[in-house]
Amino acid sequence: MTADQLIAPARPTLRERYDTYMSRHAALMPTFAAIAILILLLIGAQFAFGNFIAPRNLSALLLNNAYLIILAVGLTFVILTGGIDLSVGSVMAFTGILCAKLLADGLPAIVAVPIMLLGGAAIGLLIGVLVQYFDVQPFIASLAGLFLARGLAFVVSLSSIKVEDPAVLWLQRTRFTVGDWYLTPTGILALLVVAVGVYVTQWTRFGRTIYAIGGNEQSARLMGLPVARTKVLAYVLCGLCSGLAGLVLTAYSGAGYPLNGVGTELDAIAAVVIGGTLLTGGSGYVLGSLVGVLVYGVIKTIIAFEGADPSWTRIIIGALLLLFVVVQRVIVARSERRR
């Protein structure tokens, strides 16, 4: 109890009303902050370069980061439950090279793609089962998943495999254009994943259970919610998304490569956190993760426009991540004090 808290209830001021608003919508604040940063970045870049907010550039922004969007959506499910999945980048590399290998061996895309998606989901299932049924920390379980997927990627092939399959290449080469805007099937896939993610988290029983688990797992269990099933399913969905990201990346780069996505798990975590999802779970939005990826992509594009050293991307993302974590920390501390 601090002094100003003792006095505050006595006089309902503007400050009070602001605090009430903040406490009711605290979960939205980090996402709003991310949107504000995105807009500021876009406006700043527009002023600096003149042609930044061009349809062509913004379309490219979406398409270049399609795989990261899909990863971030999958990861959002897991982080909302209060867990973490470090394996997403490696799983993406594994399913990507698996797909390229299967296609090179003459399998049709209609068989190869479900196999790679299943491969991603299987690794997610393994992590989920370790976390839920063997009380392994999510960090360690997904670490095992990371090692497994990265190693398996190299087991499939030690070098990159070119993709010749027309169906997979179609995903990237087809362009639907409206004026100067364009969209490829990979971009549509990413947006579809976001839409499904938003629907599942906001309007389904499964989604509400995820939030409940992240808020307080014990309470969720006592309420009779299917905690075990939901948590495992969150990891499976994350693995499935990583598998799909592998397909998108393979289509995007036209080849499978076992070293793809080293460190991408961290980019994805950063995007989710910058998008306003609390790493303690229970608070955040799938749409926020999309914003987080776009912030990441804009920073990357600005640095490319500027001609600066690409290593600045990682430093700035690190700094932004820190900023958001501190903001989150303040929000959590405030809401805890209020209780």
């Binding site: 014990q218 290593s311 501390a333």
Partner: protein
């Protein structure tokens, strides 16, 4: 005998010995040590020498994990430290002189100490989750290292610097002395003073230990600072071995291997209890396993599959649930009718730190 079997180093040491025995059966020259020009050579010596960077990092990780934290930034700190040291040597007029190397080491260690303290500040003062606080530096650190080396792989030639990783002293690799000294210093500080106990107290319950008068903040801060410094030393060893500062490859995944070493050694990730001897055994186990995998003709890129299997087996063996399940099986077999099976979550005494008390989780 029973006491010996329940000692917590039994399983880690058993695993290491099993590995060495399998290796020796597969190729008898594995345990052979030859003397050439008064210097010892052999696969075991190589394992000892190559394990030095991982040993340093794992030592720091052990202390951090004892405070119930985790340090993901060690690989990045290694990259920065190596980049700083080699850049200093590269920029100086006489890369071969002892003075230059000394200055380079000093600057590199200072920088890594600062980076470690930065982590400590975020965790202990700002109260940010350790995973995230160190994730920031893990992301940004390699960027910083790339900036220091201008995005190139800086290569230098400096005999005294090369000596650090590849030199020999009284017949043994010099790197071995560094890691042995680090183990000794950490063991003395943590085990011969009250610091180790205080660290464990902080790891078990930071709030309670603070109320009991333990300077929890200072201890957590110190743990990260030490981890940073040790990672800096590892970075120097690594860069000295290849005589190049490669910001991307230095310490790649070493944080994961270090965590694995700590867990293999029997330290619980829940914090509160740690064993330095266990970590040493864990590091040797990983290094032996790596050498085994290479010997089997597996491309080193595929090695992570084996490590994944090891991680999964180790965490399953540690899992209280599995223990309860196995005990339940035995109890049922022994007396199927009269005795009720033990409660599913009842932990063995040795597993106590691995099962968090509900009160701690809720706080």
């Amino acid at each position: 005998m029973k006491k010996l079997l329940t000692h917590r180093l039994v399983w880690p040491i058993a695993a290491l010995i099993t590995l060495i025995v399998i290796n020796t059966i597969a190729r008898p020259q594995f345990i052979s040590v030859t003397v050439r020009d008064g210097q010892l050579y052999g696969p075991l010596i190589d394992i000892l020498r190559n394990s030095a960077p991982l040993m340093l990092v794992a030592l720091g990780m052990t202390i951090v994990i004892a405070t119930r934290g985790i340090d993901l930034s060690v690989g990045a700190i290694m990259a920065v430290s190596g980049a700083v040291a080699l850049t200093v040597i590269d920029a100086s007029g006489s890369p071969g002189s002892l003075g230059t190397v000394f200055v380079a080491l000093l600057v590199a260690l200072l920088v890594s100490l600062v980076l470690g303290s930065w982590n400590g500040l975020l965790v202990s003062v700002l109260g940010i989750q350790p995973i995230i606080a160190t994730l920031v530096l893990m992301l940004a650190g390699r960027g910083i290292a790339l900036l220091i080396t201008d995005g190139f792989i800086t290569t230098v030639t400096s005999a005294p610097y090369k000596f650090i990783a590849t030199g020999y002293l009284i017949g043994l690799p010099f790197a071995l002395f560094i890691s042995a000294a680090a183990v000794a210093v950490i063991a003395v500080i943590e085990r011969r003073t009250a610091l180790g106990m205080l660290t464990e107290a902080v790891g078990i319950n930071p709030a309670a230990s603070r109320l009991a008068g333990v300077r929890a903040r200072g201890i957590i801060f110190g743990a990260y600072a030490a981890s940073g410094l040790l990672a800096g030393m590892a970075g120097i060893l690594y860069s000295s071995n290849i005589m190049a500062a490669d910001a991307n490859a230095t310490g790649q995944y070493i944080e994961l291997y270090a965590i694995l070493a700590v867990v293999l050694g029997g330290t619980s990730l829940m914090g509160g209890k740690f064993t330095i001897a266990g970590t040493v055994v864990g590091v040797f186990t990983i290094q032996t396993l790596e050498s085994t995998i290479l010997f089997l003709g597996v491309p080193s890129a595929q090695a992570p599959v084996f490590f994944a299997v090891v991680v999964i087996v180790v965490v399953l063996v540690q899992s209280p649930r599995l223990h309860a399940f196995v005990r339940g099986l035995f109890a049922r077999r022994r007396s199927s009718s009269d005795a009720a099976p033990p409660p599913p979550t009842a932990p063995k005494p040795t597993d106590a730190p691995q099962t968090p008390a509900p009160a701690e989780v809720a706080s």
